[in-house]
Amino acid sequence: MMHNLLANSSVGAAFRAFLARKARQCLAFILLFCGIVFAAHAQTATPEMPPMSPEMELRLKKLETELRCLVCQNQTLAESPAGLAGDLRREVRLLADQKKTDSEIKEHLRARYGDFVLYRPPVDGKTYLLWFGPFCLLIGGGIVLWMMGRRRKANALPAAAPVSSEVLARADAMLKDE
């Protein structure tokens, strides 16, 4: 009965249309989101490079752990399976083959992708807070703690004078009287 009422009334129809529209919007949003997230994964594979010497491999592995994959963001270039990471690894390799030093390679990528590509951001005006903020907090906290300790010591009651045995005996007698 209730179902019939809802199905027949114009309110019910409007409600169902509203639901359908919302569902379509949701679907469109999900598709869009998947598109953004997986876009860089769907690329064609990176062409193979000729093999390299073990020393070179070790050097590049180390360098790649200091570089961020821009797609996954919390993975290094060395461990990311994303297509772009493969491209960037090849770029690093090509630069290394051109006898570029580690810092030159990092600078090359930084010029294109910004500080974000470096896992260890450079120390400059913009990153002072990042680098030294934690130490400032630690020192500030230490100072506050030290000041609180000093104040507590200053405010503490003076140690009670030793109680003579005579006074103790009197107190005992008073308690017994009770």
Partner: protein, 178 residues
């Protein structure tokens, strides 16, 4: 006076912390600021998608305000933004050059035939090295480049009506004036 101030200090610190955390909530970690804003366009010269024997590069666009749109037939979000690019092209606002990123040329051509071709020309970045020079980390991305060949704006992600109206068109209008 000093005493009241001391009572409000923790509150002030707390509000400061709240502000930092709240700002953090509204930041989009996927939005990496481009390192190339107000820098010269990385030079490239690539084969055109529809005429592989002809090349097109940034030097050919000198003297014009133009858009570089990074796209691929594999990129779902590119399909979402495509109608807006088509509209831009129809109204002849600015010439748009497509950077066809890591795509198979035949797939790319079929895709354009199906959804429309807003590009003055598309160039094929088969190995993705030009995209790396532009700091591209996911398609679609759109660069606004001025008449002197400087990158003035970058939009990451799909273009929609809001982005067009509030971001791209004002920048383009401003650049065309000067």
């Amino acid at each position: 006076m000093l005493r009241t101030w001391r009572y409000f200090l923790p509150l002030a610190v707390f509000v400061g912390l709240l502000w930092f955390l709240y700002t953090g909530l509204s930041l989009n970690p996927r939005e990496i600021p481009s390192a190339l804003i107000n820098k010269p366009t990385p030079s490239f010269e690539l084969a055109q998608l529809h005429a592989p024997d002809k090349k097109l590069g940034n030097a050919d666009m000198k003297g014009k305000v133009w858009l570089l749109n990074v796209w691929g037939s594999w990129c779902v979000s590119c399909r979402y933004e495509h109608p807006f690019l088509n509209q831009l092209a129809k109204e002849q606002v600015v010439p748009i050059i497509g950077l066809n990123w890591k795509d198979k040329p035949e797939d790319a051509k079929a895709w354009l035939a199906k959804f429309g071709d807003p590009y003055m020309a598309s160039v094929s970045d088969l190995d993705g090295r030009t995209a790396i020079d532009f700091g591209v980390y996911g398609a679609p991305e759109t660069f606004v480049i001025d008449a002197t060949g400087m990158i003035r704006y970058k939009h990451t992600g799909p273009i929609d009506a809001t982005v067009l109206r509030e971001k791209l068109l004002p920048v383009i209008r401003e650049l065309k004036k000067s």
